[in-house]
Amino acid sequence: MDSSGMEVPAQPTGIGHGEPLLEVADLTKRFDDVTAVDGISFTVDRGEIFGFLGPNGAGKTTTITILTGLSRPDSGTVKVAGLDCTDDPKAAQHMIGIVPDESNLYPELSGYDNLCFCAALYGIRKRERSERARRLLADFDLQDAAGRKFGGYSKGMKRKLTIAAGIIHHPQILFLDEPTTGIDVASARRIRQLISDLNSRGTTIFLTTHYIEEAERLCGRIAFIVKGSIVRTDTVGNLMRHAHGRNVVQFEFSGEAGRACALIGREFPDLICGTVPEGIRVESPRPVRVGPLVRLLEDGGIEVTEARKILPSLEDVFVEITGIEAGAMKQEKERSGGGAR
């Protein structure tokens, strides 16, 4: 047990216990002619961090609103801890915590009062909610701002307090919708650490994010959702295993990337060449021999400044599975969500 009375499982962060806590079957939601969520099914195991990845408009937030009871599905079922709450979401709301994509606490209340109020909504008595609020403010490094109005907090502080408000009633599962969007790097890192700590204390986490590296770092399993449908659900390990079968070498040089790719394509037709902002990337199922490629480019008048092996990432897997450029997805989200990282 830890200081908050929660079980501390002896297991790595993000991996579940194999016992389903959230079961979703054939969930569908339409808005007029648009099918926002199209028959998705998945389970989230107790104790795991489950990542839900997809571009803007893929159906992530719609799914969360259904799972938390703010929206009704057109068909399908949702079970939390074995309790069917499709038609009666109130039945499970004491078991779930929500951190929405926008911090939605009360700007006129102080950080401490916001936490106490959120605890009161779950029927927690005065002394207990005061203790929990103080403990969370300390855990989230917000004790110095406890008496300040929430409206005056920075974005990072707002996200931290919103997460604290989402867990003050000790939910079994916490839904985190884009927890680090629009905040600075240091705050995002701290929040990721807090998520990891929460999970290691036993809280199951359902995380939606468009930051693939964040999901890779935190999650045990990931579902990719595109246009309302889940295109792949697997453990991060299995997804990465697939990526490790590929060999990628990146070349940086002075010259035109398109001409470099044309040269390589003519001489080595079995290699796949693509341009990146830094230069070109050459990919093959077999190990790539760098020497002949460098010689070819230099003979063609292209001066190579760097050639290095690129380790495959979850982002590559995401691009391959969804056909969506992860960088474009991130930029699009940051434009709509505001802020930079």
């Binding site: 009871g69 926008e102 009360y106 209340l109 909504l121 029927g123």
Partner: protein, 245 residues
């Protein structure tokens, strides 16, 4: 017990955040007093007219006091998404909306007692029936609050809610017999008067203050109660249909 902790804290938060703020307190005190002074000066008849004017002033104070604040406590919170926190809490929507409206009911009732206390201080009001006046005041506050709630949940923006409120409030001053009897209205407008709960509430006030009610109490009270239930039912229905899509 747990849900009542939530209920009490929602009421307390709204009281601190909205009703006990200086602009609302000054509105609650000044608005009824200004109306009292204005009518007395305009009529030129002096304090003996107060029992005649008091039912209308009480009704008016409640109507404006309750409907003005709900655009903020409900529509504004919905727009800012903090209302989602309440919708996600583990208690019924009905209890949540009762908690959100109880502050307005108390505020409206307190507003009503400003002209009543002023009248008690200025005249002795010999025929006052407190046993009728207090429940009538409370019921008018409930029905006006639920009317404000219906408007607030029907609107998307705060300004929209305020515009809708005025669309209802100002005609009600003339249609509900606050300052001249419904019988003096054109015949085609009277059905509209009898469809508005404030007409019945004001009639009870007339009976309890001046002894001049036009309709029987056995009609006034049930109609007022029924209106409260209907307005609340429609509001919950709209939230269920539009907010939990």
């Amino acid at each position: 017990m747990r849900k009542w902790i939530a209920f009490w804290n929602i009421l307390l938060k709204d009281m601190r955040s909205y009703y006990l703020k200086p602009p609302n307190i000054s509105w609650g005190l000044l608005f009824p007093l200004v109306w009292v002074a204005m009518f007395l000066i305009r009529s030129g008849l002096g304090l003996e007219m107060l029992p005649e004017l008091l039912p209308g002033l009480v009704s008016l104070s409640i109507l404006f006091g309750t409907t003005s604040v709900l655009a903020v406590t409900v529509t504004f919170e919905k727009k800012g998404r903090s209302f989602e926190r309440l919708l996600l809490a583990p208690f019924s929507l009905e209890l949540l909306m009762l908690a959100k409206t109880s502050g307005a009911i108390l505020f409206g009732t307190a507003n009503a007692f400003v002209p009543i206390l002023a009248a008690v201080i200025l005249t002795d009001l010999p025929g006052m029936n407190w046993a009728m006046l207090i429940p009538a005041t409370l019921l008018i506050a409930v029905s006006s609050t639920f009317l404000g709630l219906l408007i607030a949940v029907s609107a998307r923006e705060v300004f929209e809610a305020q515009t809708f409120s005025n669309f209802f409030r100002f005609p009600m001053i003339f249609l509900c017999g606050l300052f001249f009897p419904v019988a003096s209205l054109p015949v085609f407008l009277r059905p509209l008067s009898y469809a508005l709960p404030l007409t019945y509430g004001n009639d009870i006030l007339r009976g309890s203050i001046a002894g001049t009610s036009l309709m029987p109490l056995w009609l006034d009270f049930p109609v007022l109660l029924g209106s409260c239930a209907l307005l609340f039912y429609f509001s919950i229905n709209i939230i269920n249909r539009k907010w939990i899509t």
